[in-house]
């Protein structure tokens, strides 16, 4: 599904990713761990198509060169990024935003656009699954929401847009145990043979709830170690500094 070969990324002439390789197949859950400043969020941003990066190397997504796609086209074709710091958007009603988003995606995927009533029914169902208060949906997007509510809102969007590849950028940070469990349940219930996850995190904590098939350690702009779920537990004990 996603094949990254020798990816080099720089911003303002500073090289951040220095030849990264990654291969994700449908149905797999990959976790990327690593110390601060190792380039984890840069990887997430580059996959989403964010401007401002100098990108070199091959990113192949479902047979397409990802570098050729605009930001919105990536989303329409099934790439979803859950933000580390979800934005507050003044004045923009959550329901109107989510309906515009869903219908933009459905249109491209050849599905019928939803009318307001059908959409509201759907979004209320999904919100309930994540224990999100319905009232939030009629308010300005994320304005005045707590950190946990914002993160749940990201997962809500993921479930709504039904992506093939979901990238979760430190979705666990700022979550209390209950919210963490809800978010993890949200991810687990969406997991199937067709879609894949790339989970970026500092801590083992989230991985206790979402079991990864592979854990990669990103350090100094490269993946320095790859292992199975046990690698996370080992890192928890030894830290990144002792990796060679």
């Amino acid at each position: 599904m996603l094949k990254i070969e020798n990816l080099k990324v720089s911003i303002n002439d500073k090289l951040i990713l220095k030849g990264l390789n990654l291969n994700i197949k449908p149905g797999e859950v990959h976790a990327i761990m690593g110390p601060n400043g190792s380039g984890k969020s840069t990887l997430a941003n580059v996959l989403s198509g964010k401007n401002g990066y100098e990108v070199e190397g091959e990113i192949n997504y479902d047979g397409i060169n990802l570098n050729d796609l605009k930001i919105e086209e990536r989303a329409q074709k099934g790439i979803f990024l859950a933000f580390q710091y979800p934005l507050e958007i003044q004045g923009v009603n959550t329901n109107i935003f989510l309906k515009t988003s869903l219908n933009s995606v459905r249109k491209v995927r050849g599905k019928k656009e939803l009318d307001t009533l059908t959409f509201l029914k759907l979004i209320k169902e999904k919100a309930k699954e994540l224990n999100i208060d319905e009232k939030f949906l009629s308010r300005q997007f994320n304005v005045g929401f707590s950190g946990g509510e914002k993160k749940k809102n990201e997962i809500l969007q993921m479930k709504l847009l039904e992506p093939k590849l979901s990238i979760l950028d430190e979705t666990d940070s700022g979550l209390d145990i209950d919210a963490l469990r809800i978010v993890a349940d949200g991810v687990n219930s969406y997991k199937n043979k067709e879609n894949a996850f790339l989970i970026i995190t500092h801590y083992q904590r989230l991985l206790d709830y979402i079991k990864p098939d592979y854990i990669h350690v990103l350090s100094g702009g490269k993946i320095v170690k790859t292992g199975n779920a046990d690698l996370g537990k080992q890192l928890e004990k030894t830290g990144y500094a002792n990796l060679s």
């Binding site: 198509g49 964010k50 930001i71 919105e72 923009v92 009603n93 935003f97 988003s101 995606v105 969007q157």
Partner: protein
């Protein structure tokens, strides 16, 4: 170069000799300086003489009031209406109300003495006004439905100026939602110079919404002079995007305790459109409140201006006054000018103001795009959110949906 014009008082029908003399005096005073230029402080951001020069030949005041267009009623919400052509009443309907509680008639210039000549356009209005209406709501009568004033304009207005005076009077305890709905069926350049004299009795509530329904080459100037008695409330919502030139000058006098006013605007200006909102809120009495929220989105080579003054008299203790202007500038050629002013003589007041202008938040655009929304749509969604916020106090839900649609269309015209 001075704008050329050919004004003639004789073209106005049914004037007494006395009126003619008074009008002639005003016209002579107007002739001394002509249309305001940017040398006049109040017009420094809107050089009217220059703008007229570019767009008009010789301007005349020869206006007829015959209606030749059927009324196209808004179906989105129930309402009463008055139908005006070139500022004169053609018909009206108050089917939802007790009809004897509402008095409407043609404006009678004898009833209102000349308006204080704050600028030469007032002089011109004093000299040339014709048409116009008087509206009065009797004591304690609260209209059940909004009143829409349909302003239509005839097709023969090229190079003409309309001068109207209107009077809106709400007696003690009465309430009215008044919607000025401009629909210009003409592409020709014309000028409209209007004065609204608004007076609110004790506890009266007037909400006034100004809507421009279509793009127009109209060059509009409107002067609203409001006087408020104790505990009365005046609110004005300006949704006039689409006019080639528009300057709205609002003077509100908070004359008695606990009176309050709010001025809100949401404008999306395109091409070379130019709109100015100028306010002067006079806190003449203690415990009064005023609130202003002015929002502008500037596209292409458009220009927006906000000049807002809050004046607090020495006796007006416990004044609470606020003004905020926010502009989104989307093109290097667009311009926004803001001039906030506070003049305060009382010592126990709360007055604040803020003014920001900037481009659209690129992080927010990026976020929306990662949700599959193309850039153009994302920008529209953000503009919509930016402007829509102004409508949050409108409680009539059908009316609110209608206003949101108007805003949406004004944004999508781009």
């Amino acid at each position: 170069m001075k704008q050329s014009y050919d004004f003639n008082i004789e073209k106005i029908k049914n004037l007494s000799l006395e009126e003619k003399i008074s009008r002639k005096k005003n016209l002579d005073l107007f002739y001394k300086s002509g249309f305001p230029t940017k040398q006049v402080e109040d017009w420094k951001f809107t050089d009217l003489n220059l703008i007229l020069n570019k767009n008009f030949d010789c301007i005349s005041n020869d206006v007829n009031f015959e209606s030749n267009r059927d009324l196209d009623i808004i179906k989105n919400f129930e309402h009463n209406y008055m139908f005006l052509t070139n500022g004169k009443i053609i018909s009206s309907s108050f089917d939802y109300e007790e009809k004897n509680k509402i008095l409407i008639k043609d404006f009678n210039p004898k009833e209102t003495t000349n308006i204080d000549p704050g600028n030469t356009l007032t002089l011109l209005n004093n000299a040339l006004s014709s048409g116009g209406f008087s509206l009065e709501i009797t004591k304690n009568y609260k209209l059940k439905k909004p009143l829409v004033i349909y302003n239509y304009f005839s097709k023969d207005l090229k190079n003409k100026i309309l001068n109207n005076k209107n009077s809106i009077k709400l007696n003690e305890g009465s309430e009215l939602m008044l919607i000025d709905y401009n629909d210009s069926n003409t592409q020709s350049n014309f000028i409209r110079n209007t004065i609204d004299v608004v007076s609110l009795g004790e506890n009266a509530i007037l909400k006034n919404i100004l809507i421009q329904n279509s793009k127009s080459n109209g060059h509009f100037y409107k002067y609203i002079k409001g006087s408020l008695e104790g505990s009365s409330n005046y609110e004005n919502y300006i949704l006039s995007s689409g006019l080639k030139l528009n300057k709205i000058e609002i003077e509100i006098n908070l004359n008695k305790d606990n009176s309050s006013c709010g001025i809100y605007s949401a404008l999306n200006l395109l091409e070379d459109q130019h709109q100015e909102i100028k306010t002067r809120i006079n806190h003449n009495s203690p415990n009064c409140k005023s609130y202003q929220k002015i929002k502008n989105v500037l596209n292409d080579s458009s220009k927006g201006v906000y000049q807002g003054k809050i004046f607090v008299e020495k006796i007006a203790q416990k004044t609470n006054a606020y003004q905020l202007s926010k502009a989104l500038i989307l093109n290097d050629k667009a311009e926004f000018d803001a001039k906030p002013e506070l003049e305060i003589y009382a010592d126990d007041v709360k007055c604040s103001h803020g003014s920001t202008s900037g481009s659209i938040d690129s992080e927010a655009v990026y976020y929306l795009m990662t949700r599959g929304i193309p850039k153009k749509e994302a920008v529209k969604l953000l503009i919509n959110g930016f402007l829509n916020e102004v409508l949050e106090n409108i409680t009539n839900s059908k009316l609110k949906i209608f206003l949101e649609k108007i805003l949406d269309r004004q944004i999508n015209e781009h």
